[in-house]
C-alpha cells in the first residue's frame, strides 16, 4: 500500500519556527494584560504539619495588596486528576502534606509587594512526623498522610493474565531482577504560569502554560463553581511540558480565584524552585521481575511487582501504577503475566505523568533482564528479542491489539545501522554496545474522566475571500510540532498546498481536545482534522460539480488544482466570472486547471461560508478486567535503540558515544519532526540514565531545586544520534500515522545499561549510572572472582 502524498511525509519547516526564531512567538509572560496584578503563593515549609491558625491581617494591611486568600475564602472542594482520587484541596485546610503545599495566596500591584505580603502571613503549625520513602510510608504504625488511606497506599493493582504458575512450570530458566530509578524532574525551560481574567460578563478566561486546556477548563469550572461554558482556557506558545503540565495546577486555580476576588487580571507564575516543588514528574519506581524462559529463549511468564513513591497527592498516579504493569505485555509475546503494583503516598511533592508515563523504569528493568537471560543462554540479545517479538495482528495477554507493529524492522534497522555484528563481543576493554526495544500507546483509549466525549473535534473553515482555509482545534502545541502536523494533514486531506492552511489551536473555544499527553495528538486530532478536511473538499467539489453540471465523483483536488476525470470540461465561463469579480487584481488564475481558489469561491457563492467538521474517539478497546482501560490505545508505536559507550574502568565514568535509534511511527507526517521527537526522547532518557535525580534532605526539602544543581543534559552530554524512521502504515491512524513522542524514550536507558554491561560485565540496577555505582559494581565483581 503506497499512497502518494503531496504534503505528508515531507520535511516542511514548522509553521511556528519563524516566530520562535525571531522572538515574536508569545508565551504567557510575553502577553500584556492591562491593570495586571501579580499573585504569589505561600507554601508549606514543613513536610507534614497540622495548621493551627492562619493570620492574614498584616498581609492584608500592606499597601499594594489587593487580596489575600486561604482555604477560608474558597469552596471546600476536592479535585485532582482521576475522579476516583480527588485528594487535593485548593489550599491546605487542616494540614500540609509536603514542603510546598499551598497554604495561602496574595495578589498585589507588583511581585515584590506580593512576596512581602507572603512574609506577613502568620501560620502556626504543629509539626507532625513525616514519611519520605516507600519503606517508611508502609512501615507498621507509620504516620498517615490522608485519613481516607490509612496504610498510605494511594492505589494498588493486582492482575493476572494467563496462568503464571503453569508458565513457570514450563520454564527452563527463571530469573529474578530488581531495579530502581530516581525521581526525575520535567525540567521544561518555561516554568508553569497562568493569567486569569474575570470579565464583566462573568466569564473566566485563563491564559495558561498547559498541555491540556480541556482538563484545566473542567477542573477550574468544577472548583470555582462557574458554569463550564463560561470558562475559557487558552494556551499560547508553551515552553515544553513532557507531562507535568498535563493537569490543572495551583497557578491556574489560584489565579482564577484571585481574579474573581479582585476583578482584575492576575498572574500566578512559578519560579524554577516552585517547578521542583510542584513536581508531577517521573515517579521513583522499584521493580522486581521474575521471568521464566525456555532454553530456546521463549518467554514463558512474568511475575512483576512494583512500588511507586508517589508523593503527597495522586496526580496521575493511578494511571501510572497501571501503566507500569500493562505496558510490559508487549512488544514481546508474553502469554502469562502477573502484576502487583502499589503507589504509595509520602510527604514529598506529588509525582505524575512524564514522557513514557509509567513505562520507562519498567522497560529498563525488563530489557536489562532480557540481556542477562541472553547471556545465560549464550544467545545474541538481538536474536533473543527477534525470537519473541509480536507482529501486526497479535493481541497481548492483557488485550492490547497490535494493529501495526514494525518491531522487527526497528530491531533490524538498529542492528544494521550500528554495525552490531561487527562490534558485539569484539570491542576493546571498556567499550560496550547494547540494545533495547520500546513500546508505547498512541493515545490513551479513554479520557481521564469517565465520559463518552469525543477526544477531539476540529473545524475547518474556508475563508470567504481567497483560497485559504483556517483550521480551528483545541489541540495543544507544546513544542512537539502538532500545529504543523495538523496543518499538513488538513492540506493533504483537502488537496491544497501547506501555505494555503492557517491554523489556530490550544483554545477551548475552538473545540474539544483532550490535549497533549499519552502521545495522542497525531493519531486522534489527526483523524478529526483529516475528516474535517475531507468534508471541506467534498463541499467545495460538490458546489463545483453542480456549477459545471457534471457528476461529483469526476472531481478531485490535489496541490490546489482541481482534477477532472473523463472528457475535458469547458470552465471558461466560471473563470471569466471569477476574473470579473477580481478586476484590478494581479493574481488571476491561469492554466488549464480550475484552482482551489476558484472552486472555493463558487462554493461560497452557492452556500455561504463553507465549513467542514471532524471528530474522533477511539472504538471500545480492551478487556473487561479492572484497570483494563489503562494501556489500551487505537495503535501502538515501537522502537529500538543501540547504545555505544566507553567506560573508564579507573574512575567508573560512563560516556555514551552514540545512539542508533529506530522508531515505527506508522507514517511520518513530518519527517523532521519525527526525528526531532526521537532525538529529544533520547536526551531525556539519557539524562535519567546518567545523572538526573531530585534529591531531598531528611526534612523533605528538595536539595537541588535549580537547573544548576539538577543536571539535565547539555549539548556536551549528548552523543551522536542516528535516527531511522520506520513506517509500518497504521490502519487506525490518519494516513497511517501513530505516535513518536513518548515511545522513543523507552529503549534509551536499558540500551545504555546493556552497553555498560557489555563493556564491564557488571549490571547496574539503580539509576543514575554514576561513576560511584559503576566503581562499586566493578569492585564487587573483582571480589567475586577472588
Amino acid at each position: 500500500m503506497t499512497q502518494k502524498f503531496n504534503v505528508i511525509g515531507s520535511r516542511a519547516p514548522r509553521l511556528d519556527a519563524p516566530d520562535k526564531a525571531t522572538g515574536r512567538a508569545c508565551y504567557v509572560d510575553d502577553i500584556e494584560f492591562p491593570h495586571l496584578l501579580e499573585g504569589a503563593i505561600l507554601q508549606s515549609p514543613h513536610a507534614h504539619a497540622r495548621i493551627l491558625s492562619i493570620d492574614t491581617s498584616a498581609a492584608e494591611a500592606l499597601p499594594g495588596v489587593a487580596a489575600v486568600i486561604t482555604h477560608r475564602d474558597v469552596p471546600d472542594v476536592r479535585y485532582g486528576v482521576s475522579p476516583a482520587r480527588y485528594d487535593e484541596t485548593i489550599f491546605a485546610i487542616d494540614k500540609v502534606r509536603y514542603v510546598g503545599d499551598e497554604v495561602a495566596a496574595v495578589a498585589a500591584e507588583d511581585l515584590d509587594t506580593a512576596m512581602a505580603a507572603l512574609e506577613l502571613i502568620k501560620v502556626e503549625y504543629e509539626v507532625l512526623p513525616h514519611v519520605l520513602t516507600v519503606d517508611e510510608a508502609l512501615a507498621e504504625g507509620a504516620p498517615v498522610i490522608h485519613d481516607a488511606f490509612p496504610g498510605n497506599i494511594c492505589a494498588e493493582v493486582h492482575q493476572e493474565f494467563g496462568d503464571v504458575a503453569a508458565g513457570f512450570a514450563e520454564s527452563d530458566i527463571i530469573r529474578t531482577d530488581v531495579f530502581v530509578n530516581k525521581r526525575q524532574d520535567g525540567a521544561f525551560i518555561e516554568p508553569h504560569r497562568c493569567v486569569a481574567v474575570y470579565d464583566n460578563f462573568g466569564q473566566l478566561t485563563l491564559t495558561s502554560s498547559t498541555q491540556v486546556p480541556h482538563y484545566v477548563q473542567r477542573t477550574v469550572a468544577m472548583v470555582t463553581g462557574i458554569d463550564v461554558g463560561k470558562v475559557r482556557v487558552k494556551k499560547p506558545y508553551v515552553g515544553g511540558g513532557f507531562g507535568p503540565k498535563a493537569e490543572a495546577t495551583p497557578c491556574d486555580i489560584i489565579s482564577a480565584f484571585l481574579a474573581i476576588k479582585t476583578g482584575r487580571p492576575v498572574r500566578v507564575a512559578y519560579s524554577r524552585e516552585q517547578v521542583f516543588l510542584h513536581c508531577r514528574a517521573r515517579h521513583q519506581f522499584k521493580h522486581v521481575m521474575k521471568t521464566g524462559f525456555k532454553k530456546d529463549g521463549t518467554i514463558m511468564a512474568l511475575d512483576h511487582q512494583c512500588w511507586l513513591e508517589g508523593g503527597a497527592y495522586s496526580s496521575f498516579g493511578i494511571a501510572t501504577v497501571y501503566y507500569a504493569g500493562s505496558l510490559l505485555a508487549a512488544p514481546y509475546k508474553l502469554p502469562n503475566m502477573k502484576y502487583d503494583g502499589w503507589r504509595v503516598y509520602t510527604n514529598k511533592p506529588a509525582c505524575g505523568a512524564q514522557r513514557g508515563h509509567g513505562g520507562v523504569a519498567a522497560r529498563a528493568c525488563f530489557e536489562q533482564q532480557l540481556d542477562l537471560i541472553a547471556k545465560q543462554l549464550d544467545m545474541d540479545p538481538i536474536e533473543l528479542r527477534l525470537k519473541n517479538i509480536m507482529t501486526a495482528g497479535d493481541v497481548s495477554c492483557n488485550d492490547l491489539a497490535m494493529s501495526s507493529l514494525g518491531m522487527k524492522e526497528c530491531i533490524e534497522a538498529v542492528r544494521d545501522g550500528s554495525t552490531w555484528r561487527d562490534k558485539r563481543g569484539r570491542l576493546p576493554k571498556g567499550k560496550g554496545i547494547g540494545m533495547a526495544s520500546g513500546f508505547f500507546v498512541s493515545g490513551a483509549g479513554y479520557p481521564i474522566y469517565r465520559s463518552e466525549t469525543y477526544h477531539c473535534t476540529v473545524t475547518i473553515k474556508v475563508q470567504e475571500d481567497g483560497g485559504t482555509v483556517k483550521v480551528l482545534t483545541g489541540a495543544a502545541e507544546i513544542g512537539q510540532g502538532s500545529d504543523t502536523a495538523m496543518a499538513m494533514i488538513a492540506a493533504e486531506a483537502i488537496g491544497i498546498p501547506l501555505d494555503r492552511v492557517r491554523l489556530v489551536s490550544g483554545d477551548t473555544d475552538y473545540g474539544v481536545d483532550l490535549g497533549a499527553y499519552s502521545s495522542r495528538t497525531t493519531l486522534m486530532t489527526g483523524h478529526a482534522t483529516k475528516e474535517a478536511g475531507e468534508a471541506v473538499k467534498d463541499r467545495v467539489l460538490t458546489a463545483l460539480a453542480e456549477e459545471l453540471g457534471i457528476e461529483r465523483d469526476r472531481l478531485d483536488m490535489a496541490n490546489g488544482l482541481v482534477e477532472i476525470s473523463g472528457d475535458p470540461v469547458d470552465f471558461s465561463e466560471l473563470r471569466t466570472k471569477y476574473i470579473k469579480e477580481h478586476r484590478g487584481w494581479s493574481d488571476h488564475p491561469a492554466g488549464d486547471q480550475i484552482t482551489f481558489t476558484e472552486a472555493a469561491r463558487i462554493a461560497y457563492l452557492k452556500y455561504g461560508t463553507v465549513v467542514g467538521t471532524g471528530k474522533y474517539k477511539p472504538p471500545v478497546l480492551g478487556g473487561k478486567f479492572k484497570g483494563a482501560a489503562v494501556g489500551t490505545s487505537p495503535a501502538y508505536g515501537c522502537s529500538a535503540q543501540v547504545a555505544e559507550v566507553t567506560v573508564d574502568l579507573e574512575t567508573g565514568q560512563v560516556t555514551v558515544d552514540s545512539i542508533t535509534d529506530a522508531h515505527d511511527c506508522g507514517k511520518a507526517v513530518n519527517l523532521t519532526s519525527v526525528e526531532a521527537q526521537m532525538e529529544g526522547s533520547v536526551s531525556m532518557g539519557l539524562g535519567e540514565a546518567m545523572f538526573e535525580e531530585v534529591k531531598f534532605d531528611d526534612q523533605g526539602r528538595v536539595l537541588n531545586a535549580s537547573l544548576g544543581e539538577y543536571h539535565i543534559p547539555t549539548v556536551l552530554d549528548m552523543p551522536q544520534m542516528s535516527c531511522i524512521v520506520v513506517e509500518s502504515g497504521e490502519p487506525n491512524g490518519p494516513f497511517g500515522a501513530k505516535e513518536v513522542g513518548e515511545g522513543a524514550i523507552m529503549p534509551t536507558i536499558p540500551a545504555i545499561l546493556n552497553a555498560v554491561h557489555d563493556a564491564t560485565g557488571v549490571t547496574i540496577t539503580e539509576l543514575p549510572i554514576t561513576p560511584e555505582r559503576v566503581l562499586k559494581a566493578l569492585k564487587e565483581k573483582e571480589q567475586e572472582k577472588d
Binding site: 519547516p13 526564531a21 525571531t22 522572538g23 510575553d30 507544546i478
Partner: protein, 158 residues
C-alpha cells in the same frame, strides 16, 4: 529606591531609561522596552534562555543589572533579522527543525551568533562549547548543532 538614569543601545537604537539599581537587564528589556523575545527559564543564571549579547559577548541577562549595561551595546533576538530577512542562523534553525518549544531558541541563536562572529568556521566541538550554557529540554541539541554548522557554511560563502 532611587532610580538611576542610564543610556542603553539596544539593537542599534539608543534608549534613555530610568531604572532601579536592582533591576536586571532581562527585566529592562522585557518589561521596559517590551522586547519579550528574551526568555527567562530560571532567573538565576542556570539555563541560558535569557542570553543576549553585551558588546558582542553573550551574557545571561538575568544576572546583569541594567545599570551595569549602561552605555553599552545590547543585541537581543529582535535585533538579528534585517526587516523580513532573517539572519542565516535563524534561517538554518528553522530549516533544520532545530526549534521545538522555542523557549531556548532566542538564547541559543544569540550564543551561536557570538561564536560565528568571532570564529566563522568553528568545528563541532567549538560549537558545542559555545552552546553549552544554553539548556534545551526538547531537541537533544543535534539539530541545533547541525543548524549552526550549516549557517556557518552559508555565511562563509557569502
Amino acid at each position: 529606591m532611587e532610580k538611576i538614569r542610564i543610556e542603553l543601545t539596544v539593537n542599534g537604537k539608543q534608549h534613555d531609561l530610568l531604572v532601579a539599581p536592582n533591576r536586571t537587564l532581562a527585566q529592562t528589556l522585557r518589561e521596559d522596552l517590551r522586547l519579550t523575545g528574551t526568555k527567562q527559564g530560571c532567573e538565576v543564571g542556570d539555563c541560558g534562555s535569557c542570553t543576549v549579547l553585551l558588546d558582542d559577548v553573550p551574557v545571561n541577562s538575568c544576572l546583569v543589572l541594567a545599570v551595569q549595561a549602561a552605555g553599552r551595546r545590547v543585541t537581543t533576538i529582535e535585533g538579528l533579522a534585517q526587516g523580513n530577512e532573517l539572519h542565516p542562523i535563524q534561517e538554518a534553525m528553522i530549516q533544520h527543525g532545530a526549534i521545538q518549544c522555542g523557549f531556548c531558541t532566542p538564547g541559543m541563536i544569540l550564543s551561536a551568533k557570538a561564536l560565528l562572529d568571532r570564529n566563522p568556521d568553528p568545528d563541532a566541538g567549538e560549537i558545542k562549547d559555545a552552546l553549552s550554557g544554553n539548556l534545551c529540554r526538547c531537541t537533544g541539541y543535534q539539530k541545533i548543532v547541525e543548524a549552526v554548522q550549516d549557517a556557518a557554511a552559508k555565511m562563509g560563502r557569502d
